[in-house]
Symmetry: C2
Subunit: 233 residues, 2 copies
């Protein structure tokens, strides 16, 4: 099935270069060329191409803002591939956050650009290898499981339990009710926790617990279903 394309770049020469590349592929149909981001947004909304190839440096509206606007509109089914000379990390993050299906550098060989377009058209994504390396590094740390501080070992199981309840901003009375013990008991536990961890307040304890990842503050995004067991033929 043919893939319709929109090319957005402020350099006419580069656009015709890309067009020449894509014209060698019968299944790639270049339906529009624009020279700025604003035109890219309006033309995408009008022509609904399968894939839009956007440069970042463009007049009126840069490619990242255009990407965001295009992908923010649920009426658009167009996949966005960002094609740029600069691979600044901030650019990458912003493009991916907006939901781009590709982040490619203009140094990419033409045939790989072509295959990247096909990848994007079928709903997959492709990131330039030179960018991927840094992306992995960033990603690895951002999803790294929090390392529990060693001083937690000093706490008994009951004390850790109490610490988590403190972190949940529960008062001593609430903790007592939840644990089915007297509030004097809770006071003892709390005091021990504070003493063992070197914390002044229960307020400090709350901050401590959150800063050390004892509280699950992961914010899940809409539609992000983490599948654990998907098979691919």
């Amino acid at each position: 099935m043919p893939v319709s394309l929109l090319l957005a770049d402020d350099h006419a020469m580069l656009r015709s270069g890309m067009r020449a590349i894509f014209d060698t592929q019968p299944d790639l149909d270049c339906v529009a060329e624009v020279a700025d981001g604003r035109a890219a947004v309006t033309e995408v909304a009008r022509l609904r191409p399968d894939v839009a190839v956007l440069d970042i440096r463009m007049p009126k509206l840069d490619g990242l803002a255009a990407t965001e606007q295009i992908l923010a509109d649920p009426a658009n089914r167009t996949k966005v591939v960002v094609l740029t000379t600069y691979d600044s990390d901030e650019y990458v993050y912003r493009a991916l956050r907006a939901g781009a299906s590709g982040f490619l550098l203009k140094s990419l060989p033409p045939e790989e650009l072509i295959s990247a377009i096909r990848v994007a058209a079928r709903g997959d994504a492709l990131i330039d290898p030179s960018v991927t390396q840094r992306l992995i590094a960033r990603f690895a740390t951002s999803i790294a499981p929090p390392q529990p501080p060693p001083e937690l070992e000093q706490l008994t199981a009951r004390e850790r339990e109490v610490l988590l309840l403190i972190a949940g901003a529960h008062s001593n009375a609430e903790i007592a009710a939840k644990l089915h013990v007297g509030d004097e008991t809770v006071k003892t536990h709390v005091s021990r926790v504070l003493a063992k961890l070197g914390l002044r307040d229960r307020v400090h304890a709350v901050a401590y617990a959150h800063l050390n990842g004892l509280v699950d503050n992961q914010r899940l995004a809409p539609g992000t279903t983490a599948r654990t067991d998907r098979r691919q033929p």
Copy 2:
């Protein structure tokens, strides 16, 4: 320059298939084949190939554990490419967290596998497009700046300032000193913050601030201990 390779897969047929693919490339030199993860680790340490291609499902030690062991040893310069049939998200995260230079599916066309090896050998990384899509989704949310809850708009600048100090587990007296105002003033601000946000305690305020990302909860670099009493000069 030639690239030396180690292949690890428990299926001999698949190994010979890969070897046949790589043998078509004069610059790819397949120096070892192993059938389990433990052998992969020892052979990598012994032969120091440029790139190790590891399957995940392997006896004795699975490919992910092998990846972790190989990349955990700083003496190894070997790049690891994970090549698997299963693209479970957990596998991907674990491989990338360990520092893999590639996560590829066995459905990848041979010529792309070859180019992926070269990509890994030169220090870049490549992720299978079908995986990249989900990775982007996950990454986007994990680095997405937390959206400040709307009720924060009700707070004045001063009150927000106080809220952040509360979140840092500072007492009223400390806040007063830091802001160069009387502690009675701080009490007023705190009361207003609690009232406007519908919070009972300053304890609740601390939890609220942390859960809503008002506090820089970013995982710090390895070796950096998150302290609860961070104060700015």
